[in-house]
Subunit: 330 residues, 2 copies
């Protein structure tokens, strides 16, 4: 009697799982249509054993840009928000900044004025905020900032400026045996402290720009010091290079939103067998931001042309996404 | 009736699995004793939920040196065997090598004479054999070589010069939720073509020394060209740097065999919570090679001292390993 009840329970549970799997839409924030179908069609094709398009699990590598692809990037990269915040925190230790650009402008709240100094100004801001501490100290600083930082326009927590449809897409791909990687122009050490929590992507699957590190042994205590020197820029033609260095295997699917992602998509598309390339097109001025060919951030011009020519999937945020940001828990 | 037979089958299978799991020793090539116990004791401790030493799966990172730790490295690094082989293959296209060192000596079979030119000679040999082709061409070249290469002393296939006890250890750690990485001074592009097949370690979990890569687009066909310029040396203090760049998380267990691994072990040991560091000590002149403090390859001097001082596990190949190489299928 006990055993037959056990069996009944097991069978009901199994039945429940089957029904559930059929009923649940893994991409509920995506509107039905061509875009969504292109994604699910590709995944079904490469995961179907015995099909000519079948791809073994080990080769199911998917790479995602971060800024503008997984979370927002307007009105400025969030890593720059972090850097500006850090300048404010560090200012009391640097009285000389009051008379020194780009810091003088920044401390008066004039971000535009500070960034008018171009790459040189930006490099100085990044250097003072991203080096001179150990990797572990930097991780703690980033975690503290991201736990409380708010977006300057939407006032939402920065951690909730991620795109809900892309969070679902990441989970959907992983449920189908894909390994999901970030391949971003952003700082690798800036992203790793929170990508696992927000995207389910562990630090070892994050590729990004990096500064040089120095091994130091002080009183038998080893540390890695962040130096004010660029080691690698993971943007444009740097993206396939970063992919090769970190992953060593060509992705079969790649996701971006700007011309900075074009080489990653080209590299992905040029491999043998089934391939999937997708651009997120920022078309929703009401719910997010609308920008492409003329934007100073996340410019998408060549990429749009190539996507059209090659038949890559282009997501219109306005038309293809039911919701953009995760619903906030009250 | 059918269902009760099904249940009986399920229960018997389950019972079989339990019995099997108890009976099977995951490390059959390791002799019983203190060394083996130190490994299993650590793994049991960190995987026991609720224990103060429990480590979540995501943090179970284990890093392994390759040369001398996972496969042999005498009488010379196998990557050097590969390079010397390639010099022979390429020689017909380079008539000038007949009068040019280090190639002239090499082509006469005088390896020692060729390497008498020191780092400069070695750099030239590596440059001509490891650059000037795309990453995909190089992968094919390495795969072709390793499929047939034989060890100069044992005459065994190079692929069978791996240490059977370490293969078991890798599998045992993975079965317990560890992610296993190679962190080697060897070339990352030289290792990746075969680590998955031999060690079960996918390319994205291989960290090594690397040369610079260049993105090229020729007639719409993208490729990554291997340049004759060093990008990163993953040895000594480079190992913790490579770990941080590629993994972004400190290992909780590290395995090496030489002073080149010392900083990796120190970095691993210095983290909070339970830690495991192990040195493979080459003590078996009969079944493998015996060398340590005075060796020109895989020197182990400082490491032996530090292991003794810190209580790290030191494997004596002679005493702790029942077999060294996998038994050859006839």
């Amino acid at each position: 009697m006990k055993i037959s009840r056990l069996i009944a329970g097991v069978l009901l549970t199994a039945l429940g799982l089957v029904v559930n799997a059929r009923a649940a839409d893994p991409l509920p924030s995506w509107n039905e249509g061509k875009t969504k179908q292109s994604i699910t069609g590709f995944v079904e094709k490469v995961t179907k054993e015995g099909s000519p398009d079948f791809v073994p699990v080990a080769e199911r590598i998917a790479t995602f840009d971060n800024d503008g692809t997984l979370w927002a990037e307007q009105p400025m990269y969030f890593q720059l928000l972090f850097a500006l915040h850090r300048v404010g925190v560090l200012a009391p230790q640097h009285p000389e900044w009051k008379d020194k650009e780009p810091f003088a402008s920044l401390l008066k709240g004039d971000v535009k004025g500070a960034l008018a100094g171009g790459d040189k100004a930006l490099t100085e801001i990044v250097a003072v905020t991203h080096s001179g501490m150990t990797t572990e100290e930097f991780e703690r600083i980033v975690k503290e900032w991201i736990a409380t930082a708010k977006h300057p326009v939407t006032k939402r927590p920065i951690m909730e400026m991620v795109y809900q449809p892309m969070i679902e897409l990441l989970a959907y791909l992983r449920a189908n045996g894909f390994k999901t990687f970030i391949v971003s122009g952003g700082g690798i050490e800036f992203m790793r402290p929170w990508t696992e929590k927000i995207y389910g992507i562990p630090p070892e699957q994050v590729v990004g720009s990096s500064g040089k590190l120095k091994w130091e042994m002080v009183d038998g205590n080893p540390s890695l010091l962040k130096l004010p020197a660029v080691d690698f820029i993971d943007d444009k033609e740097g993206k396939p290079v970063g992919i090769q260095q970190h992953i060593g295997r060509r992705p079969i699917a790649a996701f971006g939103n700007s011309d900075g992602d074009l080489q990653m998509l080209q590299w992905t598309a040029a491999g043998p067998g089934p391939r999937f390339c997708l651009y997120v097109h920022h078309t929703d001025a009401e719910r997010e931001f609308a920008y492409d060919r003329q934007s100073h951030i996340g410019q998408l011009a060549k990429g749009l042309d190539e996507a059209a020519a090659k038949g890559w999937t282009v997501v219109s945020m306005k038309d293809d996404w039911k919701t953009i940001f995760p619903s906030v828990k009250k």
